[in-house]
Symmetry: C2
Amino acid sequence: MKTLQALWGETRESDPVRQRLYQVLRQSVIQMVLAPGQALSEKEIADTFSVSRQPVREAFIRLSEAGLVEVKPQRGTYVVKISQRAVLEARFVREAVEVAVVKLAAEKGIEPATLTELHDLLARQRRCIEPNDNDRFYRLDEAFHRTLSLGVQQYAAWKVIEEVRAQLDRVRYLSVPHSTPLERLVDQHANIIAAIEARDVHQAEQAMSLHLREILVSMPDLIRRFPAMFEEQAAFEEPETPVLKQESMQ
Amino acid sequence: MKTLQALWGETRESDPVRQRLYQVLRQSVIQMVLAPGQALSEKEIADTFSVSRQPVREAFIRLSEAGLVEVKPQRGTYVVKISQRAVLEARFVREAVEVAVVKLAAEKGIEPATLTELHDLLARQRRCIEPNDNDRFYRLDEAFHRTLSLGVQQYAAWKVIEEVRAQLDRVRYLSVPHSTPLERLVDQHANIIAAIEARDVHQAEQAMSLHLREILVSMPDLIRRFPAMFEEQAAFEEPETPVLKQESMQ
DNA sequence: CTGATACAACTAGTATGGTAGTATGGCGAG
DNA sequence: CTCGCCATACTACCATACTAGTTGTATCAG
């Protein structure tokens, strides 16, 4: 388990402080270095990294937009617990966007260079199976999906995927090492590539859709095993009415 | 044409200042009150609204994440010009998500109350046709799509749609009043509702997809008529590969 | 007149101070 | 013992001050 300081050291000093803080805190929330429900505070974090409160505040705001923390004015900032609802919604968005991406790839085809890169990533993923190197696989998986999106020139799509991934990765991290075997995931990646190469649109969509449904199988088990990590859910109660509110800012 | 001050007056005083500023500036960019390419500055905006630089800065950061302004460190902040590429990418994401939403609606069905609301919105949209009340129609259109997304319990999807809409709405605002006749758009909405009611998944997807492709027809014309609003870029040339960037906050 | 350089006038980024609102624990009244 | 009030110690939000980097311009050397 990495510490906050270790992650801080990995960030580039040339980047703005608020950005470095955001990266560190985002990873910390995803990897459960910061526990769901835990209270943060501008001052506390500022002291930890020897910076002022202002960039910390800005990082908090960004984190709250990503749905990773909740800022309660005049009260405090808290790491949000994993919400089954939020995870399912994030998965829905991700599937919608990413299926559209592979569809485009299968329809229009993609650059040979991109295809080469995908195959390369696939091979490197295979090498993670035997040593069960989850961390490395995690990064390669991210690279795989990014390469796909950027390969069809859809940068905005990748940004959306990256955003909603945070919710999903928290669950994935929780499920290590009892999650889906890496081999299975690699095979799914292989199927996606194969379908794109074959220009089989339907098959590509199916393969991606199936791949992104993996997370669903582990959820119920996780809720049972780590109830403290999850928001107590009024399972089918209807949530706040966000209706008239303008966009997300806050 | 509204002024910044008028929009400021419409925001709720109880909301945080940065949020009110964000709303005002976002609308101003979309409605071209702030011209593409125009330089802003924290101090200037702060003085305009008699607030300090800090909340202005935070609003700028949020706007830059939405792709509406670009913050250049130590130099200035500029309203981004409309980028054909960004518009097409935003449209792609929106279609992906929103088609998935109607698909879900047609598959699982939606609450009668939601259906009633959609019909109500549709009727009110019809009443905008004859007086050609674009502003009112714009708000009803937004409400229509929001009602649909929230009707299938996909709040995260709506947040994404709302986010990418900003790019698209800038174009729409530019194209008024030469855009698609309102009647045509209302008919498309009607088709979407009808398909959902008929539980015809394929038809629902088709109807939504078609609806969201409207914007494509006006683009080339707009680029010809308002070149200053658009980022220079050989109109139909294949765009260069996007720079590989980390997530937005960086 | 041309080119380089120093400086002035901006900019955003970060640090710090002040204010108002909220939770909490203890104390006193019932 | 229980309930309500109030002091206290937090919090985030906003304002202000300071730092550092960029740009345009005026000045001076060649």
